[in-house]
């Protein structure tokens, strides 16, 4: 039906981590540092005072890239990892055998083990919560105070995300691996 993706105006990120909290809350992700679907990355600021390199201090929110050619899906022995009708990469806990191959194959460290089901879990663009309720927003996008995230249907030329990607330059992470991520970073 749709082909959901996300564009991140990452330079606006202030590392408040509201998105991480909203995600845990919305999707019932367990507490614990290892158990996260989304995260905000930061680097140590380079340079010495007063010649600080401000550009090196940008924050980079990230998560599962919902690759169009997802290595995690290719390596899964039981089709537990699959593309759903909205092209969102999902895990079916009934089929997952916890071989952890996908955790090794995902180039973005996007997967972790959910201790309740003992299967692999990751961001699913709120497919079981908001999208299932008919909404077309994600919790992280909804909560972000600086409006970093734009979520929408990449196949719909009139969606905000399609519009933005047409007019603003952007890049994807580890593009050379040919995974075709659907997470776009706006420059």
């Amino acid at each position: 039906m749709a082909r959901y993706g996300m564009a991140l105006d990452y330079k606006n990120c202030i590392n408040c981590k509201a998105c991480e909290v909203a995600c845990k809350e919305e999707n019932g992700v367990l507490l614990g540092a290892d158990k996260h679907r989304i995260w905000v990355g930061s680097n140590d600021v380079k340079g010495e005072w007063p010649l600080l390199d401000i550009a090196s201090a940008a924050f980079l929110p990230s998560q599962c890239q919902h690759c169009d050619d997802a290595p995690c899906q290719e390596v899964c022995p039981t089709h537990a990892t699959y593309y759903d009708e909205n092209n969102v990469v999902r895990v079916d806990p009934d089929k997952c055998i916890l071989c952890s191959y996908c955790m090794n194959a995902c180039p973005y460290d996007a997967r972790y083990v959910d201790d309740r089901t003992m299967t692999v879990d990751k961001c699913n663009f709120c497919a079981e919560t908001r999208i299932a309720r008919g909404e077309t927003t994600t919790a992280c996008q909804n909560t972000c105070p600086t409006k970093v995230r734009i979520f929408g249907d990449l196949d719909d030329p009139n969606s905000e995300i399609s519009e933005t990607l047409r007019v603003r330059e952007h890049f994807t992470l580890k593009t050379h691996l040919g995974t075709n991520p659907k997470l776009f970073y706006l420059t």
Binding site: A33, T78, I97, S100, T119
Partner: protein, 411 residues
Amino acid sequence: MAETVEKTEEMGMIDKAKAFVSTIPYNKIGMKDLTDFEKTPRNNLVAVLTLAFVAMFVVGVAIYLMHGHHAYNVTREHPWGLLIAVYIFFVVSSTGLCIVGSLGDVFGFKDYEMISKRAIFGSIVTILAGFAVIAFEIGHPVTMLIYNVISPGLTSAIWWMGTLYGIYLTFMIIEFVFLLKHDMKNARIFGLTGLLVGLAAHSNLGSVFGFLNARPISNGVFYPTYFILTAFITGIFIAYILMGWRYKLDFPTEAKKMLIGLAKIQGLLISILIFFVTWKMLTDIYGGMPNRSEVAIHILGSWTFWAEVILAMLIPLYIILKDMGKSINAMFWASLAGMVGIFFMRYNLVHDTQLKPLQMMKIKEYQLTPEWIHYFPSMTEIMISLGGLGLCVLLYYIGSKLFNLDADEAH
């Protein structure tokens, strides 16, 4: 009417199968026979260690059943731990023994026929030990058996590896039965098929790592081919250990001839391996490619890498080259060292693949920038691993009492 015919046919099949099974030669043994071994200090030590390891297996599995993967030190960044390495260790051993066993009964090299039955039996018990270990690493082994069949992921190297190993085990068992029955023609047919399936399974295991585009240190053609080479090397090490144990290092002429032959092959194989590893390291480092070069340099600085090189390559090669494989007693000890080296080889393969974090930014407050992923196995992982070894030795011992693993007299 038709039903009765079918029934009788079915009965016929069952009867035939029963008749077939009843012709498999084996010795009737009881508990007494099992405890009946020469009570030398060496034998006693091995017996105690084996039982202790099996006990550890039971305890380890119990802890795992209570705490799941929390009993292991695997993490989000290092999801594969010691048990995967030990699984690989056992299945490499199995493939290796299958290759060594095939020399005689598949390819018809007369000198090597005397070890065929023993090696094929060894290949069965090693893969069973491997399966016993992996069953407690895979989170849901029963789900695996079901969904592997009804929802096969044909693009997954793990699917191919697991499925082919299952088929391989079946062929090995059939081959072994024909060997026991001294039906060399059928043994050859099943042996050859089993060998081909085993080699395919094994290189698929290499491709589990080779296909990881996200991990430049493992990605590529190296592991699928290297796995076959190291399997053969492992097979010869174990052949030495099995024969040395069987004859208490006092070999009859025929065994000597075979072992010297094997040592010469081993010399060649280890030389090729050193050549392989050297070039792998050099290409990894050359040009400073990110995520590959620094990982390779890091590996060169780890003691486990040198344990692998010294124990599995340099010591055995030195002993072989000293007098062209004639010191077979020394080779027995070198083979024991070699197997320790091979263990490190498997451990390194698994650990080194995951050394480099895929996410290089800090995601927690007060965190240092990620550099290398650390992992050290937990007690439970170690217990289950040693348990696998215990099971393997125990099964082999029972088998050696139950079946005649020596070559038949007619040969």
